[in-house]
Protein backbone atom coordinates (compact mmCIF):
# COMPACT_ATOMS: atom_id res chain seq x y z
CA UNK A 1 0.00 0.00 0.00
CA UNK A 2 1.21 3.52 -0.70
CA UNK A 3 2.56 5.49 2.23
CA UNK A 4 1.04 8.84 3.10
CA UNK A 5 1.54 11.66 5.59
CA UNK A 6 -1.32 12.57 7.88
CA UNK A 7 -1.34 15.55 10.23
CA UNK A 8 -2.58 15.17 13.80
CA UNK A 9 -3.02 18.51 15.46
CA UNK A 10 -2.71 21.30 16.37
CA UNK A 11 -6.32 20.66 17.38
CA UNK A 12 -6.54 16.97 18.20
CA UNK A 13 -7.53 15.20 21.42
CA UNK A 14 -4.23 13.31 21.38
CA UNK A 15 -2.06 16.41 21.59
CA UNK A 16 -3.10 17.65 25.08
CA UNK A 17 -2.29 21.15 23.88
CA UNK A 18 -1.31 22.89 20.69
CA UNK A 19 1.26 21.07 18.63
CA UNK A 20 1.33 19.04 15.49
CA UNK A 21 2.37 15.45 14.99
CA UNK A 22 2.90 14.57 11.36
CA UNK A 23 2.67 10.84 10.88
CA UNK A 24 3.69 8.81 7.87
CA UNK A 25 1.53 5.73 7.67
CA UNK A 26 1.60 2.53 5.70
CA UNK A 27 -1.94 1.28 6.10
CA UNK A 28 -2.45 1.34 9.87
CA UNK A 29 1.24 1.20 10.75
CA UNK A 30 3.27 4.29 11.62
CA UNK A 31 6.49 4.39 9.58
CA UNK A 32 7.81 7.87 10.33
CA UNK A 33 6.89 10.85 12.47
CA UNK A 34 7.76 14.49 12.81
CA UNK A 35 6.87 16.77 15.72
CA UNK A 36 6.19 20.47 15.20
CA UNK A 37 6.21 22.70 18.26
CA UNK A 38 6.08 26.40 18.91
CA UNK A 39 2.38 27.19 18.56
CA UNK A 40 2.23 28.93 21.93
CA UNK A 41 5.78 30.24 22.14
CA UNK A 42 5.48 33.37 24.26
CA UNK A 43 9.12 34.35 24.52
CA UNK A 44 9.26 34.01 28.29
CA UNK A 45 13.07 34.00 28.27
CA UNK A 46 13.15 37.35 26.47
CA UNK A 47 10.45 38.88 28.67
CA UNK A 48 12.33 37.80 31.79
CA UNK A 49 15.38 39.79 30.72
CA UNK A 50 13.33 42.94 31.20
CA UNK A 51 11.97 41.99 34.62
CA UNK A 52 13.22 42.19 38.21
CA UNK A 53 14.16 38.89 39.80
CA UNK A 54 10.96 39.03 41.87
CA UNK A 55 8.79 39.90 38.87
CA UNK A 56 9.88 36.76 37.04
CA UNK A 57 8.16 34.36 39.47
CA UNK A 58 4.62 34.84 38.06
CA UNK A 59 5.89 34.23 34.53
CA UNK A 60 7.37 30.95 35.71
CA UNK A 61 4.02 29.99 37.23
CA UNK A 62 2.52 30.39 33.79
CA UNK A 63 5.03 28.13 32.11
CA UNK A 64 2.88 25.18 33.01
CA UNK A 65 -0.68 25.83 34.04
CA UNK A 66 -1.04 22.32 35.44
CA UNK A 67 1.89 22.46 37.84
CA UNK A 68 2.63 26.12 38.48
CA UNK A 69 4.02 25.65 41.98
CA UNK A 70 6.86 23.39 40.89
CA UNK A 71 7.97 25.78 38.15
CA UNK A 72 8.12 28.82 40.38
CA UNK A 73 9.93 26.70 42.97
CA UNK A 74 12.48 25.73 40.35
CA UNK A 75 12.98 29.36 39.37
CA UNK A 76 13.44 30.68 42.91
CA UNK A 77 16.01 27.98 43.57
CA UNK A 78 18.08 29.24 40.64
CA UNK A 79 17.59 32.84 41.78
CA UNK A 80 18.72 31.92 45.30
CA UNK A 81 21.81 30.36 43.81
CA UNK A 82 22.49 33.53 41.83
CA UNK A 83 21.71 36.03 44.59
CA UNK A 84 23.18 33.94 47.42
CA UNK A 85 19.98 33.93 49.46
CA UNK A 86 19.27 31.65 52.40
CA UNK A 87 15.90 29.99 52.99
CA UNK A 88 14.54 29.32 56.51
CA UNK A 89 13.84 25.68 57.26
CA UNK A 90 10.15 26.21 57.89
CA UNK A 91 9.83 27.78 54.46
CA UNK A 92 11.58 24.76 52.94
CA UNK A 93 9.02 22.46 54.55
CA UNK A 94 6.16 24.60 53.31
CA UNK A 95 7.65 24.60 49.81
CA UNK A 96 8.01 20.85 49.91
CA UNK A 97 4.39 20.40 50.89
CA UNK A 98 3.21 22.88 48.27
CA UNK A 99 5.24 21.12 45.58
CA UNK A 100 3.95 17.68 46.54
CA UNK A 101 0.34 18.87 46.62
CA UNK A 102 0.96 20.31 43.19
CA UNK A 103 2.40 16.99 42.07
CA UNK A 104 -0.78 15.24 43.20
CA UNK A 105 -2.93 17.78 41.38
CA UNK A 106 -0.79 17.51 38.26
CA UNK A 107 -0.79 13.72 38.17
CA UNK A 108 -4.55 13.75 38.67
CA UNK A 109 -4.93 16.12 35.75
CA UNK A 110 -2.73 13.78 33.71
CA UNK A 111 -4.75 10.72 34.69
CA UNK A 112 -7.98 12.57 34.04
CA UNK A 113 -6.85 13.53 30.55
CA UNK A 114 -5.30 10.13 29.84
CA UNK A 115 -8.49 8.22 30.71
CA UNK A 116 -10.61 9.66 27.86
CA UNK A 117 -7.70 9.02 25.46
CA UNK A 118 -8.01 5.33 26.24
CA UNK A 119 -11.80 5.34 26.30
CA UNK A 120 -12.55 5.68 29.98
CA UNK A 121 -14.59 8.84 30.49
CA UNK A 122 -15.40 8.08 34.13
CA UNK A 123 -11.81 8.78 35.02
CA UNK A 124 -11.98 12.42 33.97
CA UNK A 125 -14.81 13.19 36.37
CA UNK A 126 -13.26 11.25 39.24
CA UNK A 127 -9.83 12.83 38.85
CA UNK A 128 -11.08 16.39 38.54
CA UNK A 129 -13.24 15.84 41.62
CA UNK A 130 -10.19 14.83 43.67
CA UNK A 131 -7.91 17.44 42.13
CA UNK A 132 -10.30 20.05 43.48
CA UNK A 133 -9.35 19.07 47.06
CA UNK A 134 -5.71 19.88 46.42
CA UNK A 135 -6.44 23.05 44.48
CA UNK A 136 -8.43 24.24 47.51
CA UNK A 137 -5.44 23.59 49.76
CA UNK A 138 -3.10 25.42 47.38
CA UNK A 139 -5.59 28.27 47.10
CA UNK A 140 -5.39 28.73 50.85
CA UNK A 141 -1.64 29.18 50.48
CA UNK A 142 -1.30 31.26 47.35
CA UNK A 143 -4.71 32.87 46.99
CA UNK A 144 -5.58 31.58 43.54
CA UNK A 145 -6.42 28.25 42.01
CA UNK A 146 -3.82 27.81 39.32
CA UNK A 147 -1.13 30.51 39.23
CA UNK A 148 -0.12 30.97 42.82
CA UNK A 149 2.89 33.31 42.76
CA UNK A 150 3.59 31.79 46.16
CA UNK A 151 7.35 31.25 46.18
CA UNK A 152 9.57 34.15 47.09
CA UNK A 153 13.32 34.40 46.67
CA UNK A 154 14.37 33.51 50.20
CA UNK A 155 11.15 31.91 51.41
CA UNK A 156 7.43 31.88 50.79
CA UNK A 157 4.77 34.59 50.56
CA UNK A 158 2.56 33.47 53.45
CA UNK A 159 2.67 30.91 56.20
CA UNK A 160 0.22 28.02 56.25
CA UNK A 161 -3.13 29.16 57.70
CA UNK A 162 -4.48 27.91 61.04
CA UNK A 163 -6.31 24.62 60.54
CA UNK A 164 -4.68 23.95 57.16
CA UNK A 165 -2.71 21.03 58.56
CA UNK A 166 -5.84 19.22 59.75
CA UNK A 167 -7.67 19.83 56.50
CA UNK A 168 -4.68 18.60 54.56
CA UNK A 169 -4.32 15.45 56.63
CA UNK A 170 -8.02 14.62 56.28
CA UNK A 171 -7.91 15.12 52.50
CA UNK A 172 -4.75 13.05 52.09
CA UNK A 173 -6.22 10.19 54.12
CA UNK A 174 -9.35 10.29 51.98
CA UNK A 175 -7.27 10.42 48.82
CA UNK A 176 -5.22 7.38 49.78
CA UNK A 177 -8.45 5.39 49.64
CA UNK A 178 -9.37 7.04 46.37
CA UNK A 179 -6.11 5.81 44.76
CA UNK A 180 -7.23 2.29 45.59
CA UNK A 181 -10.55 3.04 43.93
CA UNK A 182 -8.80 4.20 40.77
CA UNK A 183 -6.78 1.05 40.67
CA UNK A 184 -9.89 -1.06 41.06
CA UNK A 185 -11.45 0.86 38.20
CA UNK A 186 -8.42 0.65 35.90
CA UNK A 187 -6.36 -2.43 36.67
CA UNK A 188 -9.38 -4.69 36.29
CA UNK A 189 -10.59 -3.08 33.10
CA UNK A 190 -9.79 -5.19 30.04
CA UNK A 191 -9.90 -2.18 27.72
CA UNK A 192 -7.37 -0.32 29.85
CA UNK A 193 -4.96 -3.25 29.92
CA UNK A 194 -5.29 -4.12 26.24
CA UNK A 195 -4.70 -0.54 25.14
CA UNK A 196 -1.67 0.02 27.39
CA UNK A 197 0.21 -3.24 27.78
CA UNK A 198 2.81 -4.04 25.16
CA UNK A 199 2.65 -0.57 23.62
CA UNK A 200 5.25 2.21 23.49
CA UNK A 201 8.35 0.49 24.79
CA UNK A 202 11.28 2.68 25.88
CA UNK A 203 14.41 1.58 27.74
CA UNK A 204 16.10 3.54 30.50
CA UNK A 205 19.40 4.13 28.68
CA UNK A 206 17.75 5.24 25.46
CA UNK A 207 15.57 7.63 27.36
CA UNK A 208 18.29 9.27 29.40
CA UNK A 209 20.50 9.64 26.34
CA UNK A 210 17.60 11.30 24.54
CA UNK A 211 17.07 13.61 27.51
CA UNK A 212 13.87 12.07 28.85
CA UNK A 213 13.70 12.24 32.65
CA UNK A 214 11.37 11.88 35.61
CA UNK A 215 8.61 9.28 35.98
CA UNK A 216 9.21 8.02 32.43
CA UNK A 217 12.71 6.83 33.42
CA UNK A 218 11.53 5.42 36.73
CA UNK A 219 8.96 3.35 34.87
CA UNK A 220 11.90 1.62 33.14
CA UNK A 221 13.20 0.25 36.43
CA UNK A 222 15.71 2.76 37.84
CA UNK A 223 14.93 4.86 40.88
CA UNK A 224 16.71 7.99 39.67
CA UNK A 225 15.00 11.11 40.90
CA UNK A 226 16.44 14.63 41.19
CA UNK A 227 14.94 14.83 44.66
CA UNK A 228 17.73 12.56 45.89
CA UNK A 229 20.40 12.69 43.16
CA UNK A 230 20.63 16.48 43.28
CA UNK A 231 19.35 17.13 46.80
CA UNK A 232 17.37 20.28 47.43
CA UNK A 233 14.76 21.46 49.92
CA UNK A 234 14.26 18.98 52.81
CA UNK A 235 13.57 15.78 50.91
CA UNK A 236 16.35 14.07 52.87
CA UNK A 237 14.45 14.66 56.11
CA UNK A 238 11.03 13.28 55.24
CA UNK A 239 9.94 9.71 54.79
CA UNK A 240 9.61 8.62 51.16
CA UNK A 241 11.04 6.35 48.51
CA UNK A 242 11.27 7.19 44.81
CA UNK A 243 8.49 5.44 42.92
CA UNK A 244 9.89 2.83 40.56
CA UNK A 245 8.29 0.20 38.37
CA UNK A 246 9.56 -3.09 36.96
CA UNK A 247 9.63 -2.94 33.16
CA UNK A 248 7.82 -5.78 31.44
CA UNK A 249 10.16 -6.46 28.54
CA UNK A 250 13.78 -6.20 27.40
CA UNK A 251 12.47 -3.38 25.23
CA UNK A 252 11.85 -1.38 28.40
CA UNK A 253 8.79 0.17 29.98
CA UNK A 254 5.44 0.22 28.23
CA UNK A 255 2.52 2.61 28.67
CA UNK A 256 1.13 0.51 31.49
CA UNK A 257 4.39 0.82 33.49
CA UNK A 258 4.33 4.57 33.04
CA UNK A 259 0.77 4.67 34.36
CA UNK A 260 1.71 2.47 37.33
CA UNK A 261 4.71 4.56 38.29
CA UNK A 262 2.64 7.72 38.50
CA UNK A 263 0.06 6.01 40.71
CA UNK A 264 2.88 4.91 43.01
CA UNK A 265 4.33 8.41 42.93
CA UNK A 266 1.03 9.81 44.18
CA UNK A 267 1.17 7.40 47.11
CA UNK A 268 4.71 8.56 47.90
CA UNK A 269 3.62 12.20 47.75
CA UNK A 270 0.85 11.44 50.27
CA UNK A 271 3.38 9.77 52.54
CA UNK A 272 5.72 12.74 52.28
CA UNK A 273 2.97 15.24 53.04
CA UNK A 274 1.79 13.40 56.14
CA UNK A 275 5.37 13.14 57.39
CA UNK A 276 6.36 16.72 56.59
CA UNK A 277 3.39 18.23 58.41
CA UNK A 278 4.45 16.41 61.59
CA UNK A 279 8.08 17.50 61.33
CA UNK A 280 7.63 21.12 60.30
CA UNK A 281 9.70 23.41 62.55
CA UNK A 282 7.59 25.94 64.44
CA UNK A 283 4.56 23.64 64.59
CA UNK A 284 1.86 22.80 62.10
CA UNK A 285 -0.87 24.88 63.68
CA UNK A 286 0.93 28.18 64.09
CA UNK A 287 0.75 31.07 61.67
CA UNK A 288 3.66 33.45 61.33
CA UNK A 289 3.01 36.85 59.83
CA UNK A 290 4.17 37.50 56.27
CA UNK A 291 7.87 38.44 56.12
CA UNK A 292 8.50 36.83 59.50
CA UNK A 293 12.03 35.46 59.65
CA UNK A 294 10.62 31.96 60.09
CA UNK A 295 9.27 31.96 56.54
CA UNK A 296 11.21 34.61 54.61
CA UNK A 297 14.78 35.87 54.58
CA UNK A 298 15.42 39.10 52.83
CA UNK A 299 17.37 38.44 49.65
CA UNK A 300 19.62 40.87 47.81
CA UNK A 301 17.94 42.23 44.69
CA UNK A 302 21.08 42.73 42.56
CA UNK A 303 23.26 39.98 41.24
CA UNK A 304 27.05 40.13 41.57
CA UNK A 305 29.05 40.69 38.37
CA UNK A 306 29.59 37.49 36.44
CA UNK A 307 27.54 35.33 38.81
CA UNK A 308 25.40 32.49 37.51
CA UNK A 309 22.58 30.53 39.08
CA UNK A 310 21.48 27.04 38.22
CA UNK A 311 18.81 24.75 39.60
CA UNK A 312 17.98 21.10 39.01
CA UNK A 313 14.45 20.31 40.04
CA UNK A 314 12.23 17.24 39.84
CA UNK A 315 9.18 18.72 38.21
CA UNK A 316 6.07 16.61 37.77
CA UNK A 317 7.01 15.62 34.19
CA UNK A 318 10.75 15.32 34.54
CA UNK A 319 13.74 17.40 35.49
CA UNK A 320 13.46 21.12 34.91
CA UNK A 321 16.47 23.41 34.96
CA UNK A 322 16.82 27.14 35.20
CA UNK A 323 20.04 28.89 34.29
CA UNK A 324 20.37 32.57 35.17
CA UNK A 325 23.16 34.98 34.36
CA UNK A 326 23.33 38.13 36.45
CA UNK A 327 24.67 41.17 34.72
CA UNK A 328 26.31 43.05 37.59
CA UNK A 329 25.61 46.72 38.26
CA UNK A 330 25.00 47.56 34.63
CA UNK A 331 21.84 45.45 34.52
CA UNK A 332 20.43 46.64 37.85
CA UNK A 333 17.90 44.20 39.24
CA UNK A 334 17.42 42.41 35.92
CA UNK A 335 19.07 39.16 34.88
CA UNK A 336 21.19 39.28 31.74
CA UNK A 337 19.95 35.95 30.44
CA UNK A 338 17.35 33.46 31.64
CA UNK A 339 17.38 30.01 30.16
CA UNK A 340 14.77 27.36 30.88
CA UNK A 341 14.99 23.65 30.27
CA UNK A 342 11.57 22.17 29.89
CA UNK A 343 11.47 18.37 30.23
CA UNK A 344 8.67 18.01 27.68
CA UNK A 345 10.45 20.01 24.99
CA UNK A 346 13.03 17.23 24.76
CA UNK A 347 10.60 14.41 25.46
CA UNK A 348 8.06 15.12 22.73
CA UNK A 349 10.46 14.62 19.77
CA UNK A 350 11.70 11.43 21.43
CA UNK A 351 8.19 10.10 21.96
CA UNK A 352 7.32 10.90 18.36
CA UNK A 353 10.15 8.59 17.29
CA UNK A 354 9.13 5.77 19.67
CA UNK A 355 5.76 5.54 17.91
CA UNK A 356 7.33 4.15 14.77
CA UNK A 357 6.17 0.59 14.22
CA UNK A 358 2.97 0.84 16.24
CA UNK A 359 -0.55 1.36 14.94
CA UNK A 360 -2.21 4.73 14.49
CA UNK A 361 -4.67 3.83 17.26
CA UNK A 362 -1.74 3.46 19.69
CA UNK A 363 -0.60 7.06 19.21
CA UNK A 364 -2.93 8.58 21.86
CA UNK A 365 -1.92 5.89 24.36
CA UNK A 366 1.82 6.39 23.80
CA UNK A 367 1.67 10.17 23.74
CA UNK A 368 -0.63 10.40 26.75
CA UNK A 369 1.48 8.05 28.84
CA UNK A 370 4.44 10.45 28.65
CA UNK A 371 2.30 13.27 30.08
CA UNK A 372 2.83 16.13 27.61
CA UNK A 373 2.26 19.75 28.64
CA UNK A 374 2.62 22.31 25.90
CA UNK A 375 2.76 25.41 28.09
CA UNK A 376 6.21 24.50 29.33
CA UNK A 377 7.28 22.99 26.02
CA UNK A 378 6.92 26.19 24.05
CA UNK A 379 7.69 28.70 26.79
Amino acid sequence: MAEMWITMGPQHPMTHGLWTLRVKVDGETVTDTEAELGYIHRGVEKICEARDFTQITPYCDRLCYVSAMTWSHSYVMAAEDLLEAEVPERAEYIRLMAAELQRLASHLMWLGAFGPDIGNLTLMTWCLRDREMFLDLLQELGGSRMHYNYQRIGGVKRDIPIGWADRMKAKIKLFEHRINEYEMLLDESTIWLVRLQGVGYATAEDQINAGVTGPNIRAAGVNTDARWTNPYSVYDQVDWEPAVEKPTSVKGADCYDRYRVRMEEMRQSCKMLLDAIEKIPGGSNTHYQPEDEMILTKAPSRAPEGATGFSTYECTRGVSNFYLQGGGEGRGKHPYRVSIRSPMFITIPYVAKTMIGYKVADIPAIMGSFDPCIGETDR
Binding site: K46, A50, N209, T213, G221, D236, Q237, K246, F310
Partner: protein, 217 residues
Amino acid sequence: MGTTITKEQNTEAANAAVENLTARFSDAGVTSEVVAHTGGKKYDFVRITCKPEQWVAVAKHLRHELGVNHCAMITGTHFPEGSAERGWEVAYHLHRWPIMNVKPHTMMVHEGEKLAGDLIPMEFEVFIPLPAGDSPSVPSIQDIWEGADWNEKETWDLVGIDFSGHVNMHRVLNPHDSPAGFHPLQKQHKIRYHDFNEMYDDPQGYARKPVDEGRVK
Protein backbone atom coordinates in the same frame (compact mmCIF):
# COMPACT_ATOMS: atom_id res chain seq x y z
CA MET B 1 13.98 8.84 55.61
CA GLY B 2 14.42 9.53 51.97
CA THR B 3 17.62 8.35 50.35
CA THR B 4 20.04 11.13 49.41
CA ILE B 5 23.53 11.97 48.22
CA THR B 6 25.72 13.24 51.04
CA LYS B 7 27.94 16.29 50.82
CA GLU B 8 31.06 14.10 51.21
CA GLN B 9 30.11 11.89 48.27
CA ASN B 10 29.39 14.96 46.20
CA THR B 11 32.74 16.61 46.98
CA GLU B 12 34.60 13.39 46.38
CA ALA B 13 32.98 12.88 42.97
CA ALA B 14 33.59 16.48 41.91
CA ASN B 15 37.26 16.30 42.88
CA ALA B 16 37.70 12.96 41.12
CA ALA B 17 36.14 14.31 37.92
CA VAL B 18 38.30 17.44 37.96
CA GLU B 19 41.42 15.35 38.58
CA ASN B 20 40.55 13.12 35.66
CA LEU B 21 39.88 16.05 33.35
CA THR B 22 43.02 17.89 34.41
CA ALA B 23 45.18 14.83 33.77
CA ARG B 24 43.70 14.41 30.30
CA PHE B 25 43.22 17.97 29.08
CA SER B 26 45.33 20.45 31.07
CA ASP B 27 48.05 20.45 28.37
CA ALA B 28 45.50 21.51 25.78
CA GLY B 29 44.41 24.49 27.85
CA VAL B 30 41.02 23.18 28.94
CA THR B 31 40.35 24.42 32.47
CA SER B 32 38.22 22.46 34.91
CA GLU B 33 37.45 23.38 38.48
CA VAL B 34 35.20 22.43 41.37
CA VAL B 35 32.66 25.15 42.07
CA ALA B 36 30.07 25.18 44.87
CA HIS B 37 26.53 26.41 44.41
CA THR B 38 25.77 29.42 46.59
CA GLY B 39 22.11 28.56 47.19
CA GLY B 40 20.22 25.53 48.45
CA LYS B 41 22.44 22.85 49.92
CA LYS B 42 25.62 24.35 48.41
CA TYR B 43 26.62 21.19 46.58
CA ASP B 44 29.65 21.13 44.31
CA PHE B 45 29.67 20.83 40.54
CA VAL B 46 32.34 20.76 37.85
CA ARG B 47 32.89 23.78 35.64
CA ILE B 48 34.83 23.31 32.41
CA THR B 49 35.95 26.06 30.03
CA CYS B 50 37.23 25.09 26.61
CA LYS B 51 37.62 26.32 23.04
CA PRO B 52 35.13 25.31 20.34
CA GLU B 53 37.67 23.16 18.50
CA GLN B 54 38.33 21.14 21.68
CA TRP B 55 34.68 20.63 22.51
CA VAL B 56 33.99 17.37 20.68
CA ALA B 57 37.00 15.68 22.31
CA VAL B 58 35.94 16.93 25.73
CA ALA B 59 32.34 15.83 25.15
CA LYS B 60 33.40 12.34 24.08
CA HIS B 61 35.62 12.07 27.14
CA LEU B 62 32.76 13.13 29.39
CA ARG B 63 30.36 10.71 27.76
CA HIS B 64 32.53 7.63 27.60
CA GLU B 65 35.09 8.03 30.41
CA LEU B 66 33.12 9.90 33.04
CA GLY B 67 29.70 8.41 32.32
CA VAL B 68 27.89 11.70 31.73
CA ASN B 69 24.68 10.41 30.22
CA HIS B 70 22.33 13.38 30.11
CA CYS B 71 22.59 16.65 28.22
CA ALA B 72 20.19 18.85 30.13
CA MET B 73 20.34 22.18 28.40
CA ILE B 74 22.30 24.35 25.99
CA THR B 75 22.25 28.10 26.50
CA GLY B 76 23.60 30.60 24.05
CA THR B 77 24.26 34.16 25.22
CA HIS B 78 25.01 37.24 23.16
CA PHE B 79 27.43 39.82 24.60
CA PRO B 80 27.38 42.70 22.11
CA GLU B 81 29.48 44.78 24.51
CA GLY B 82 31.77 41.92 25.43
CA SER B 83 35.42 41.51 24.61
CA ALA B 84 36.64 40.35 21.19
CA GLU B 85 37.21 36.84 22.53
CA ARG B 86 33.84 36.59 24.25
CA GLY B 87 31.19 38.15 22.07
CA TRP B 88 29.08 35.04 22.45
CA GLU B 89 29.06 32.19 24.89
CA VAL B 90 27.55 28.74 24.83
CA ALA B 91 26.89 27.05 28.18
CA TYR B 92 26.19 23.33 28.31
CA HIS B 93 24.69 21.76 31.40
CA LEU B 94 25.22 18.05 31.66
CA HIS B 95 24.30 15.50 34.28
CA ARG B 96 25.63 12.14 35.29
CA TRP B 97 22.97 9.89 36.78
CA PRO B 98 23.21 6.21 37.69
CA ILE B 99 20.88 4.87 35.01
CA MET B 100 21.24 1.44 33.48
CA ASN B 101 18.90 -0.88 31.63
CA VAL B 102 17.47 -3.59 33.84
CA LYS B 103 16.23 -7.07 33.07
CA PRO B 104 12.47 -7.46 32.65
CA HIS B 105 10.54 -7.83 35.91
CA THR B 106 13.44 -6.48 37.98
CA MET B 107 14.32 -3.03 39.18
CA MET B 108 17.40 -1.17 40.31
CA VAL B 109 16.89 0.61 43.61
CA HIS B 110 19.97 2.71 44.34
CA GLU B 111 20.65 3.76 47.88
CA GLY B 112 22.17 7.20 47.50
CA GLU B 113 24.52 6.92 50.47
CA LYS B 114 26.12 3.73 49.12
CA LEU B 115 26.93 4.94 45.61
CA ALA B 116 30.62 5.34 44.79
CA GLY B 117 32.94 6.27 41.96
CA ASP B 118 31.35 7.08 38.61
CA LEU B 119 27.89 6.23 39.87
CA ILE B 120 27.67 9.31 42.10
CA PRO B 121 25.40 11.85 40.39
CA MET B 122 27.29 14.94 39.30
CA GLU B 123 26.55 18.13 37.46
CA PHE B 124 28.84 19.50 34.74
CA GLU B 125 28.81 23.00 33.34
CA VAL B 126 30.78 23.67 30.16
CA PHE B 127 31.45 27.22 29.00
CA ILE B 128 32.61 27.82 25.46
CA PRO B 129 33.37 31.51 24.79
CA LEU B 130 33.11 32.41 21.11
CA PRO B 131 34.75 35.41 19.39
CA ALA B 132 32.64 38.46 18.61
CA GLY B 133 31.27 38.62 15.08
CA ASP B 134 28.31 37.69 12.98
CA SER B 135 28.88 33.97 12.74
CA PRO B 136 29.33 32.26 16.11
CA SER B 137 29.84 28.56 15.60
CA VAL B 138 30.50 25.47 17.71
CA PRO B 139 30.64 21.82 16.66
CA SER B 140 27.46 19.83 17.11
CA ILE B 141 27.29 17.07 19.72
CA GLN B 142 24.05 15.65 18.37
CA ASP B 143 25.58 12.20 17.86
CA ILE B 144 27.09 12.04 21.36
CA TRP B 145 23.92 12.85 23.28
CA GLU B 146 20.72 12.42 21.34
CA GLY B 147 19.10 14.82 23.82
CA ALA B 148 21.34 17.62 22.55
CA ASP B 149 19.56 17.51 19.19
CA TRP B 150 16.55 19.66 19.99
CA ASN B 151 18.51 21.76 22.47
CA GLU B 152 20.82 22.74 19.61
CA LYS B 153 17.88 23.44 17.33
CA GLU B 154 16.39 25.70 19.98
CA THR B 155 19.67 27.54 20.60
CA TRP B 156 20.15 28.20 16.90
CA ASP B 157 16.53 29.24 16.51
CA LEU B 158 16.49 31.70 19.41
CA VAL B 159 20.10 32.87 19.69
CA GLY B 160 21.53 32.23 16.25
CA ILE B 161 24.52 30.12 17.22
CA ASP B 162 25.48 27.82 14.39
CA PHE B 163 26.12 24.19 15.33
CA SER B 164 28.39 22.96 12.59
CA GLY B 165 27.65 19.39 11.57
CA HIS B 166 24.11 19.45 12.93
CA VAL B 167 21.84 17.37 10.71
CA ASN B 168 18.30 18.59 9.99
CA MET B 169 18.53 22.05 11.55
CA HIS B 170 15.25 23.91 11.43
CA ARG B 171 13.15 26.40 13.37
CA VAL B 172 11.46 24.87 16.40
CA LEU B 173 9.89 27.67 18.46
CA ASN B 174 9.77 30.57 16.00
CA PRO B 175 7.46 30.30 12.98
CA HIS B 176 8.98 28.26 10.18
CA ASP B 177 8.83 31.21 7.80
CA SER B 178 10.74 33.60 10.09
CA PRO B 179 13.22 35.68 8.07
CA ALA B 180 16.70 34.22 7.80
CA GLY B 181 18.99 35.78 10.37
CA PHE B 182 16.19 36.62 12.81
CA HIS B 183 17.10 35.22 16.22
CA PRO B 184 15.08 37.00 18.92
CA LEU B 185 17.33 36.39 21.92
CA GLN B 186 20.16 38.39 20.38
CA LYS B 187 20.54 41.59 22.32
CA GLN B 188 19.92 44.03 19.46
CA HIS B 189 16.27 42.99 19.55
CA LYS B 190 14.52 44.83 22.36
CA ILE B 191 11.04 44.41 23.67
CA ARG B 192 9.40 47.58 24.80
CA TYR B 193 10.21 47.34 28.50
CA HIS B 194 13.86 46.51 28.05
CA ASP B 195 16.25 48.63 30.15
CA PHE B 196 13.25 50.38 31.59
CA ASN B 197 12.22 50.38 35.22
CA GLU B 198 8.52 50.68 34.49
CA MET B 199 7.32 49.59 37.93
CA TYR B 200 8.87 52.61 39.59
CA ASP B 201 9.48 55.24 36.91
CA ASP B 202 6.31 54.89 34.90
CA PRO B 203 3.56 52.96 36.67
CA GLN B 204 0.91 54.03 34.15
CA GLY B 205 3.01 52.97 31.23
CA TYR B 206 2.60 56.18 29.18
CA ALA B 207 6.28 56.29 28.28
CA ARG B 208 6.54 52.70 27.15
CA LYS B 209 7.46 52.69 23.53
CA PRO B 210 9.35 50.08 21.59
CA VAL B 211 12.76 51.46 20.69
CA ASP B 212 12.31 50.43 17.10
CA GLU B 213 8.78 51.84 16.79
CA GLY B 214 7.78 52.60 13.23
CA ARG B 215 10.33 50.29 11.74
CA VAL B 216 9.40 46.94 10.31
CA LYS B 217 10.42 44.21 12.72
